[in-house]
Symmetry: C3
């Protein structure tokens, strides 16, 4: 969020780039996507480890072969484990479509400033979503706002791409 | 589904395209992918909103901090909410792998007519799947047919890609 | 896993490739990705069919319109069906982020030997994961090892990409 972006410098940011070079390290928009997509991939994978931590802390295991302690039975529906699992599922529902949407949005050659800031805001919003949902539950509407931020950004990118490719319906 | 495609015009549709230009707006196959992938991303994200609508309509919330009304308790297993969630999960199981499969299928330079119609049919089939599963439940085999259509198309693309790259096993 | 890779031949494997040609069939790393991503897509989609097989074998259906046999009621929480569904969900949690991570990792022009072997090991590990989780349950730590293999490979790729694009934060 460090680059100041106004409507005035959109043209300055917009480089005439050969179409074959969109998905290369020469393109700053693609590099910014690479960095923040990587952050979100790591964040999502850490949810698996957070689930595992909760499972060991509360000794809640869903499979017979996972009962690492004596006198345990398989258990489901523990609220601490299920909360992390709901947050993880919400990540899959929102971040995975965002990965595809933002990747193909790059092909429309968006302004560097606009695109990079969208990637930054969307990614930070999802990190906040995880913190207020799975790590330390916070009263609403904090989670709804974090959820809505990436959702709106994805819808914006969808509008841009759909308008550019509408004739291929 | 407007372009008539016969086996005869495959060669006419097949353009000799430089390999670096597959994932650019110069390639009509990629443009068609962009449009229909965008439609499916939006469709998937609307499932979250449909779930939210059902949660508010039947006042079923899974987290303590979501109890927006008085005298409510967290509740799971409401059939109306769970139906939408199953449809959403089915979307993730099928559409997300399809996004990757159809994207990499483009790199094999398929015939414009064949590829575009596959994208169109698969996308419309999944929209029908959502309608008959989550919006207005309809007797089988409507859902199985809608589900099977994208599944078979993804398997077809997988066969094309795997045969082209078999030597890289 | 057939190509012998040592630290010595990294330079020999590393071709000076024009940046616009990373995601083309000219690039052996991309071809190897295509093949193994296709294998994993097919593996994931087969989980849906495995779930369906278990549902018909144990006559467990979650929707009113799926009750293909007389005198059945909708049922959830059958251990055989839920085991396959947990394995399928674990696939989505791990393989789908891996698809994006390994795809963008290719843009950093990695050594052919290293990248191809990472794709091979990660894919075979997830096939083993499915076998020991959903097809024939095997005592731990077999599943943890199979799970950890792709997880570590994804983290490695994330580190490579993040370090290359750190200035775009």
């Amino acid at each position: 969020m460090s680059t100041p972006v106004g409507s005035g410098n959109t043209n300055a940011n917009q480089t005439v780039r050969p179409p074959g070079e969109m998905f290369t390290l020469e393109n700053p928009v693609f590099c910014c996507y690479l960095f923040w997509a990587t952050v979100l991939v790591v964040k999502m994978l850490l949810m698996s480890l957070l689930t595992a931590i909760q499972r060991f802390r509360y000794k809640i295991f869903p499979n017979q072969e996972d009962l690492f302690f004596k006198n345990l039975e398989v258990q489901f529906n523990d609220p601490h484990v299920e909360r992390v699992r709901r947050a993880h599922r919400n990540d899959m529902e929102n971040i995975l479509p965002y990965f595809i949407m933002s990747l193909i949005y790059i092909s429309t050659n968006p302004s560097v400033g606009v695109a990079c800031n969208l990637f930054r805001v969307a990614s930070v919003a999802r990190i906040i979503h995880t913190l207020v949902y799975a790590v330390y539950p916070v009263p609403q509407p904090s989670r709804i706002l974090a959820f809505g931020t990436m959702l709106l950004i994805t819808f914006y990118m969808a509008a841009v791409v759909a308008l550019r490719t509408l004739s291929f319906i």
